[in-house]
Structures are given as structure tokens and as C-alpha cells.
Subunit: 289 residues, 2 copies
């Protein structure tokens, strides 16, 4: 059950800091910059990775990362997620030892690194996956894009950050931001899992690019539609087509491009009725490379 | 010795592909999208990581990645870099076994992943590091920014890509692009190493954000000045101040912000003499999140 809408909290003092410098005229200036801190993620006693994050939802991030890497499957029962703020460590605990721990144990004895290894596993998780073939109205793209652009966010305060929003119809259910665009998606995945949120009727919005990894994560989460302000990669498009994901990019003002799953689009809004983005909105994403 | 300037080749047919889709009016459109392919990097017989790359300079990327992660040091003699296009594997070979291989061998027997492990090593490499305290003229920022914006690039063809340029005075020596902003920097590092290019008199320009990892890499490369179109993170600023790196961000048209090493700036150009960026230039970086 979803208890409340989750949106960014740009006022959280742990997430940004004022720093002094100079501008192009040599005049002193104070600007707000985003915090960035390491989080080391463990799966039981197995160290998996150190991610750089703003640090607002370490439990969601740790769980979502493991889910989206295919390191936790449906048969794995998560019993606890322990976060130690001082050590900057999050430990996801399961009832039984997971396949991944066994595999890493074997793998690391010979050659490997978890991240390298697991990429193959992520692709493997897509085999036979077919996302629900649901219609999606283009009016929701415009509504969601407007709402994300007008929700107070760390981006507006500090720049240099990515946002991802989980949406249902034209409502935002959860909007996460992070210095890594993958972290924002992983936090959404962790939040969905802990709150038992269904995926088949959702749309995922991201400010980041539609790369293979972003498409794979969305597909593994079971979400049939992914939209972005940014552009595509060829492999991202290939994978989206393989799993039946509707992939919409370059979504700005009235314009967008759909390169996969376009048969599902219901063109229920005249693009000419959409107000173009203001200059400040067009900059949104511009500093978030 | 530097033999020739290296700039992107947007016409290389291996780097992009035309894909069909629809626009916001439901009309068929063909757009050019960037390719993205895995490259698995080995250090001798040790598998290190799988990176997603456009694939144009696998040897530079493999070598630069290992250098920038602190996995190869000054005492390591690189004897060969073998790239297998079919297997998508690059192997960097050294005369003797490296510390990293020994360390990974030990580490992976207990818990670890190379990337997680090595982050600590990257920070360790900064201890005692102090970059040369050289003056840098603000006119070079404007010149370089203009030149990068007006060099034909994959970004202009396809979007969804990051660029990094190594500069000397107001000249671009090497301009690399990649789907991962770290890859572009790593390719520059590999190119510098193989061509024995000195770092102390250079400026690095990137379209990506000034995160801790970007700052660490620049510092480990020995380059005293890093400029970017994009924003900062607090930790990135902290590290830059620690090692004496001049850090300039939000560089667009006449504007920029300097948050570290500002005492080295020589304000030799009136910002009002700088022509503001055109709308299409302002979009540069906008799709590259």
C-alpha cells in the first residue's frame, strides 16, 4: 500500500551546502552545491559495490540496486535492511543465502568483479520478459513533464543532479533525485518493492539518457513505459523493442520522439495546445550531464 | 610527442545508426542515435570491469581506466594492449604482475568487488598530491568553450553523449566523446600516457558534472585546471581545494563560476566582449544527462 507521495526535499540541510567562490567578473559569490557521499552496499556478508549518492534514502538505494542488478530475485525474502550512517554502509539481509553470493564466491576466486560479472546477469534477466501491452495517452506525457518541471527539487536549488519519477496516470507517486541517474531509479525500485507497488500500470519519467542500462532497469522493474527529456542510445532502443517497452525521448515542451512501442501511443492531446517550456525549464537537465 | 590533433569523427559509421520512430504528431521520423557496446577490461589475466562505450578507442579507454583508478602506477611498464573486437575485450599487459592483481586476488577471496575496493585506492592516490600552482587566463576558457561548441561532434549528430577535451593554451589537443562521461576522460588519460603528453600546462574541459570522481581523475592525471558546462558537487569542490585544482563550472557564454583555486585566475578578458551562446549551443549538454 502506498501511504503518501514521495517528493524531493530541497530544504533538507544534509543534501546541499553553500560554497563560496567567484564569478566571471571575479566577484565573490555563494552558491548551493549538492552533497555526494559514498554508500557501500552489502548483500548479507558479501560486499557488492560502493555507490556515490546524495544519501537521502540509503535503504531504498541498497535494495533497489540489488533488485535492478538481478542480484535479488522473487524467491529471495528480504528480512532487514540495516544502515549505518557513520560507516556509510547499508546491508540488505535475506532469509537464505542468495544465488549471487554463491556465484560471487565462485567467480571472485578466479577473476571477477561483481559489477562486470553482473552485467551479463542483467541481460539474462531479460530473456523471455515481455512487458504488458497497455495503451498510454500522450496527454499524460505532457502532464507529467509539466509536473516534474514544477515540483520543487534539488535540481532547481543546486543543479548537477538527476531526477526520476514513478507515475500513475498523470500523477507522480514517487520522485527521487541523485547525483547518479541510476541511483534515482534504484531508489524508486527499492521504494516500490518495500511498498508492494505494482508496475504494470505505471510510467517512469527520467531526466537522464535512455541508455541500455536505464532501459534494462525499467524492464526488470516491469514498467511498460519510459520517458525522458534526454536522448537515446542504439542499444537502449534495441532492448526496448525486444521487451516491448514504449520508449519516449527528447521530451521537451510539445515535442517528443518515440523509438519503440509506438503502437501503444494514444494521441489524445494536440501538441499545439501545449505551452512550450520557459527558458529556465529548458535549462533543466542542461546542467545535469 | 603529439603527432596530430584528435577530434571526434561523427561520420564514422560504427558510432551511430539511423533508427525509425514517430514524433509527437504520430508522424514517422528517422533519427540518428549513438551506438553503445560493452568493453570488458582486463589487467593481464585479471578481469577488472565491463564498461559501456561507443567503442572508438578501446585501447585508450582500457589503459586510461586502469590509470585513473590507480590500478596502474608509475612503476608499472605497459608492454601491450590487445583488443579483440569480436569478444569486446581489451587486455592491458604489463612487464610484471601489478599490485592491484595481488590485492584483488586477496580481496576477492573474502568479499570484494574491484570497483568498490578501488574507490578507496583512488582517494589514497590523492594523499600528498599537490597540483602545480600555475596561472590560467580566463580568455582561454572562452576560447576553448567556443571551440568545443563549434567542433563537429557526435553530440551534434546524435545527442546523448559526453565530451572531454584536453587543451593547451587555447588549443584543443584531443577531444573525446563517449556515452559515459568517465570514459571520455579515461580515453584522454590513455592517449596522454601512450603519447607521453605532459599534464602541468594543460586544461581539461568536460561537458559533464564536476563530481568527486571527475575531480579525482583530473587530479590523478596531474592536470591543474578543470572546466565544465555543468554544475558541482560539494565533495568535488572539497577534493579540488585539497589538491589545489582550479575548478570552473557552469561555463556558458560569458558566465562561469569558480569554486576552487580562484587565486590562479587571470581575468584578461572582459566577459561583456563574449558573445552569448546561441539557443542551439545552450542545448549542448542539455540532452547529455
Amino acid at each position: 500500500m502506498i501511504t503518501e507521495k514521495l517528493v524531493p526535499n530541497p530544504q533538507d540541510p544534509r543534501l546541499s551546502r553553500t560554497v563560496e567562490g567567484v564569478d566571471e567578473l571575479g566577484q565573490s559569490r555563494e552558491i548551493s552545491v549538492i552533497e555526494e557521499r559514498p554508500l557501500t552496499i552489502y548483500l548479507n556478508s558479501q560486499e557488492i559495490v560502493t555507490a556515490m549518492t546524495i544519501g537521502d534514502y540509503p535503504e531504498y538505494l541498497a535494495l533497489g540496486f540489488l533488485l535492478n542488478q538481478g542480484m535479488l530475485g522473487e524467491s529471495d525474502v528480504v528480512t532487514a535492511i540495516d544502515y549505518d550512517e557513520e560507516l556509510e554502509v547499508a546491508v540488505v539481509r535475506t532469509a537464505a543465502t542468495t544465488n549471487v553470493e554463491d556465484k560471487l564466491e565462485k567467480k571472485t576466486r578466479t577473476s571477477g568483479c561483481a559489477v562486470g560479472t553482473v552485467f551479463g546477469d542483467m541481460m539474462a534477466g531479460l530473456e523471455g520478459l515481455e512487458l504488458p501491452d497497455v495503451p498510454v495517452q500522450t496527454s499524460t506525457f505532457y502532464d507529467l513533464s509539466y509536473k516534474v518541471n514544477h515540483t520543487p527539487s534539488l535540481y532547481m536549488e543546486t543543479g548537477a543532479i538527476h531526477g526520476t519519477a514513478l507515475c500513475q496516470g498523470n500523477e507522480i507517486l514517487a520522485y527521487m533525485e541523485d547525483v547518479g541517474r541510476h541511483n534515482a531509479v534504484d531508489k524508486i525500485a527499492g521504494w516500490m518493492h518495500l511498498n508492494k507497488v505494482s508496475a504494470a500500470d505505471k510510467v517512469l519519467y527520467t531526466t537522464g539518457r535512455l541508455t541500455s542500462e536505464m532501459v534494462i532497469k525499467t524492464a526488470l522493474m516491469g514498467i511498460p513505459t519510459l520517458i525522458s527529456r534526454s536522448g537515446f542510445t542504439a542499444w537502449g532502443v534495441d532492448i526496448a523493442r525486444q521487451v516491448g517497452l514504449t520508449l519516449v525521448g527528447r521530451m521537451r515542451g510539445k515535442k517528443f520522439t518515440c523509438l519503440s512501442g509506438q503502437h501503444r501511443l494514444v494521441f489524445d492531446q494536440d501538441p499545439n495546445s501545449v505551452v512550450d517550456e520557459s527558458a529556465s525549464m529548458r535549462r533543466k537537465g542542461a546542467a545535469s550531464g
